[in-house]
Amino acid sequence: MRPVTLSNEEIRRYSRHLILPEFGMEAQRKLKCGSVLLIGTGGLGSPLALYLAAAGVGHIGLVDFDVVDESNLQRQVVHGTSTLGVRKTESAKMRLRDLNPYIDIATYETQITSENAFDLMRPYDIIVDGTDNFPTRYLTNDASVMLGKPNVYGSIFRFEGQVTVFSPEDGGPCYRCLYPEPPPPGLVPSCAEGGVLGVLPGVIGTIQATEAIKLLAGIGETLIGRLILYDALTMRFRELKLRRNPDCPVCGEHPTITELIDYQQFCGITPEEAQRDTSIEITPIEVAEWLRRDDSPFLLDVREANEWEIGHLPGAVRISVNELAERLHELDSAVAMVVYCRSGVRSARAVEQLRQAGFRKVKNLAGGILRWSDEVDPSMPKY
C-alpha cells in the first residue's frame, strides 16, 4: 500500500471512525488510499456518493451523462433544486466537494460502453453498480469480472431491493451466475409498474456504501455469496445464498465470453425507432380539432388508475391496457376511437390489440398526455 498519513484536520473529521476499535487509523488510511468507481449518480449513486465521500474514500469516480431533472429529486439526494439542469456528475461533485474537501473526485460525463468500460474501471479498486438497466448491469458485471474487481451490486424496483457483492476473485459468484440472461423486453412489467419509493434507493445504496467501505477497509464479513432482499412495504430483510456457477460463461471454469460484447443486442434491444407504425397515429392538435366537431371520437385511456388520478382528457373512459383483452366487449367497434396513454407507447400496443380484434376506426394519440400538454393544454400535468 502507498504510504499515506492523515492530517490533523482529517483526524478531527474522521475521529468517530478512529475511535472505533475495529476501524481505527489503519482502516481510515486504507479508505484514504482506496478508490471506488460509481456507475450512475442517480437513486443508488446518491447515497453511495454521499457516504463514501463522508467516510473519507480518497478517490471517487462518478460516471453519468444525464442531467438533474425535477423528477429525480424525490430520491436522488445528492442533487438539489439549485442544480436542476446541471450534469449529474457536476452536481454531485459540487455537493461532495462541500461535504469533504480532502478527497479526489473524478467525473466522467459519459455513458459506460463496451469501448470505454475497461479504461473507466481500471484505475479503481472497487466498482459499484448503481445503474438502472440490464445492458449496463451485464456490461458492468462482465468488465468487473474480466478486470478482477469486486462489483458492489444493488438494484431496486418499486418497493423492493436486491443487494450483494459479486467477486469471483474472492471465490464468489458473478451476476451471470445468478441470472445468465436478462428478461426479454416484452416480459417485464408495464410502465405503470415502473415507479420507485424514493427512500428505497437510500436503503439499498447505503448498504452498497457499507460494503464498499468494508471491502476497502478490510473489515467485517461482506455480502460475497449472499443476496439481501429488502421489501420496504412489509419491512422485511431476507438473505439468500448465492453460489458460483461452474458453467458461468464469464467467471466459470471454461468461460465462453472473454471480451466485452454488444450489451444492447444481448438484452434484445434494437435501437431502430423507424419500426413505429405512424399510419395509425393522430396528433394532439388533430384530436383537439376533432373533439370540437359533431363526429367527435370516443376517447379511451389505457393507463392505470393512479395515472388517471394525475390527469385525464375530459370525457375519456379508462380501461388499462392490461385489462383490455378481457374488457373488449365494453367497447363499440363501430365508433371512431382515439386511444391514449402517457407517451403513446402503451396506447400503440392497445391500438394494435384493438385492430387485431376487428376495431378498424382506432387511432393512437401520438406522444400521449405529454405531447397533449405541450401542444394543446398546458394545464395538463406531465409526470
Binding site: T131, D132, P183, L240, K241, N322
Partner: protein, 120 residues
C-alpha cells in the same frame, strides 16, 4: 401441510396482487404447477414456450437456489418458503414502456431498456 410461495413486486400483478400464496407441500415442480393453474398469467412469466423456467427467474427453497438442490424435483416440506426472485434492473426504469422526456433530450439512460422496445 402448507408452504408459502412469495411473489415479488414485479410479478404480483399476475398473481391477483398477492405478496404470498399458501399452497400444499410437495415438490417445487408440483407447487409451481398449482400456482400456474391458479394464475395462468403468472405461469407465462415464469415459464418459456418450451415449458422450462425462464433464466431470469430464480426459485429458492428457504435460502437455497433450487439449481443447487434438486431443481424442480426439490421437495418443499410443510412450513418452508418458496421464493420467486426475478432479475430487476432498478431505478425508475419504465420497463415495457415509455421514453421519458429527459431521456429524449439527453440520451439513453433511464428509460433505455424500455424505450427502444416500446417503439417496436
Amino acid at each position: 401441510m402448507a408452504v408459502t410461495v412469495t411473489i415479488p413486486t414485479a410479478l404480483r400483478q399476475y398473481a391477483g396482487g398477492h405478496a404470498s400464496i399458501t399452497l400444499p407441500a410437495g415438490s417445487v415442480g408440483q407447487i409451481l404447477a398449482t400456482l400456474r393453474e391458479q394464475y395462468p398469467q403468472l405461469g407465462k412469466q415464469l415459464y418459456n414456450d418450451q415449458g422450462a423456467l425462464r433464466s431470469f427467474v430464480n426459485v429458492y427453497v428457504g435460502d437455497e437456489d433450487i439449481r443447487h438442490l434438486q431443481g424442480v424435483e426439490t421437495h418443499v416440506a410443510d412450513g418452508e418458503t418458496v421464493s420467486i426472485i426475478p432479475a430487476i434492473a432498478g431505478g425508475v426504469m419504465v420497463l415495457h414502456g415509455e421514453r421519458c422526456t429527459v431521456n429524449v433530450r439527453y440520451g439513453w439512460k433511464e428509460c433505455c431498456y424500455a424505450a427502444s422496445h416500446a417503439l417496436q
